[in-house]
Symmetry: C2
């Protein structure tokens, strides 16, 4: 019986596993260092106190429990022996006939790795609760700060990067300041908060058509978020940001949404990487010269086929790779992967979004309803769907966000 | 205008604040080092992956936002100047006319403070997620452990202390092993897990009548939990427990539910303390010789009036103290506090509980429905009620527990 080892329980890895569960005569092992899958598109909701971590996570074992040919191993991958067809783990190792590597991406600071603590990014549950802690702690500190200038720094929130994640974070912060916390403080008005979305490119949401990005910018402005585009960050310290044009913006809370870098597991494969650390693979997601090794999702750069780093790409590649392994078992020749773009969505706070389906391009409330529907439908696990729906219904009618807990270690901020 | 400072946003402190909100001509400041209230009776549900932290927490600011005469300060109390009527905080200080101290309790290791890391107790949200991490990590490690003896240690869970918290933890662990994780593992059967509830007294649930405690013990047994009473713990190390009679029980997961000690803020008041660190106060909850200082809840021992350390006592004392402050303002003489015991409840896993209302004593499903109703009704915040109800309804019908996330630092365990 052939043994498939999948590294990573994200959208890509889970899609491979579920598809292979229907394949007879295969044993599958899924390795992840965490015991849960994270629904990354909603991480910003955890970072802003709208949802709890468990609402957007699903224990991998229970997701895969029904499939008796799949074994789940919680372990850290420490290396690959491609010639010997083995994966080394922090405890033990796994032999494979087929290997699928789908370990995703982290933030990219473009050579400024020292910015990571000053401007955290949003990729893991711990990132999200850390951002939540910083944002809420800044409001708490402002309540106790009599000095006007220092309070201004505490109430200034800078988001670097105007892609969908940056826009979602900024919009939600605007909502928090203007609605959620409206009655909570006594020594300042929360709408004194300044929220700035900084984008080095000419405009935000570059993957969307001009007029939709402009609609998003108007929605952001209505939430009190100012967009500063065409301006690059030169330096970040614990008191704020210095821009490339010499401007200085004092702020105690800087969030990073400016770019991603593929998992370091790519380098361990010994293959060629692109500038973002992604493994360059064939259009069949195979490692050149190693047809039994597949790389997919945010970790993979398909040769001459640029693809966005979004969940639908990873999921479609996952299903494709599962079928490709079936094809190899039958000695069939593989057709190249092709991505079916079903549309792009981005949300901007409560009841506003933009949607681009090629011919159909909409913004506003209708786009937001669509965004809501898509995200609830794709959430892994029936329970999470009900939970998230209840949370959102509650938020929608009351403007309240219940998961506003400051937990974890106090940092210097 | 008289200024009341309340230290602590637990059941007691919140009850004082809400009652004083209706009192004219008073300014109130509530100080807590956390920004949220914790519904402690359900902490064990977070520790066992049934609920998320935010489900049982409510941001103090939003609870108190409607009351314009109440100010919330997130700060750590560092000392009291009773003569000068001032409270020192980690940043700044507060002057008061009336002071209410209600900072609760922590675990009590009875001189074995070195056991705290080996056998964590359950008092804070961080305690709960740490216990959750340890329990789930033990199952994960067992899946990777080929050695039978070592696996037995990983699958042995010891709970020290047979009060309601210990019983609830043990029962829920039994449920997890027998139902929730039933299909999740491949190299052992989760019901191989041994769960032992260790009580040094002659029987568990000493606050309940004999026959109800016996019913609880039968329910525990049905969940695979064995009760060992009349046996004391002599030593705890990272491989298990040594009992006073020389018996050795290997276990990687020991949980502590054997006793509580009042907050160290009691000692800072410079008053007489009892053995559990509680401040000895008059039957009017006042500090002897300091009629403007009240202590209540788990921190207070009323002279010659022994009371259990439960939420209803703290809430009733909170309302009593608020009225007493009103009385002092009117120069009225205070009547002693009297506790109206509305009944005792304890739950044992899914669909089993015991209830003692004096004449009416019930066990089983009816007691559990009652427990459910009472706990949902007392949850702070409308949203939390709906959330918790949805979680429980889901758990009840599917045996699933969705908040099974291993988060935070890996410990040596």
């Amino acid at each position: 019986m052939a043994h498939v080892v999948i590294v990573g329980g994200g959208f890509g890895g889970l899609a491979v596993a579920k598809r292979l569960a229907k394949q007879r005569g295969l044993a599958v092992t899924l390795v992840d260092r965490r015991n849960f899958h994270v629904f990354q598109p909603l991480l910003y909701q955890v970072a802003t106190g709208g949802l709890s971590p468990a609402d957007i996570c699903a224990p991998l074992r229970s997701v895969l429990a029904p499939y008796k040919n799949i074994r789940t191993v919680m372990a850290e991958v420490t290396g690959f022996d491609l010639a010997g067809r083995r994966v080394s783990l922090d405890h033990g190792e796994l032999a494979y006939d087929y290997l699928v590597v789908a370990a995703g991406a982290r933030h990219h600071y473009f050579g400024h790795e020292d910015w990571e603590n000053l401007a955290p990014g949003l990729k893991t549950i711990e990132d999200a609760t850390e951002i939540r802690r910083r944002v809420l702690s800044a409001f708490e500190a402002a309540e106790n700060e009599p000095d006007v200038e220092r309070r201004r720094g505490l109430l200034t929130f800078l988001i670097v990067g105007g892609g969908p994640t940056g826009v979602e974070l900024a919009g939600t912060l605007g909502e928090i300041a203007n609605d959620t916390l409206r009655e909570d403080f006594r020594s300042f008005r929360p709408e004194e908060a300044r929220i700035l979305l900084i984008e080095s490119g000419p405009r935000i949401l570059s993957a969307f058509p001009d007029h939709l990005a402009a609609a998003a910018e108007r929605s952001l402005l209505a939430l009190g978020v100012r967009v500063r585009s065409g301006i690059a960050v030169a330096a970040i310290d614990d008191a704020g940001i210095s821009m490339a044009n010499g401007e200085r913006i004092p702020s105690k809370t800087v969030l990073w949404a400016a770019g991603v870098k593929a998992s370091p597991l790519g380098a361990m494969l010994g293959a060629e990487l692109d500038r973002a650390g992604r493994v360059i693979v064939t259009q069949t997601c195979q490692l050149p010269g190693r047809p039994e090794v597949f790389v997919l999702g945010d970790m993979a750069a398909l040769k001459d086929m640029p693809l966005p780093g979004v969940a639908p790409v990873a999921m479609q590649q996952g299903r494709y790779v599962a079928d490709a392994i079936g094809g190899l078992l039958m000695n069939r020749e593989l057709k190249p992967f092709s991505y079916l773009n079903k549309g792009n969505l981005a949300t901007i706070g409560r009841a506003k979004a933009i949607a681009d389906f090629g011919k159909l391009q909409i913004s506003g409330w209708a786009a937001w309803m669509l965004w809501l529907f898509v995200h609830i439908m794709y959430l892994v696990g029936f329970r999470n769907r009900i939970q998230v729906f209840v949370h959102w219904a509650f938020q929608y009618f009351t403007f309240n966000r219940g998961a506003r807990l400051i937990t974890g270690e106090k940092s210097a901020t």
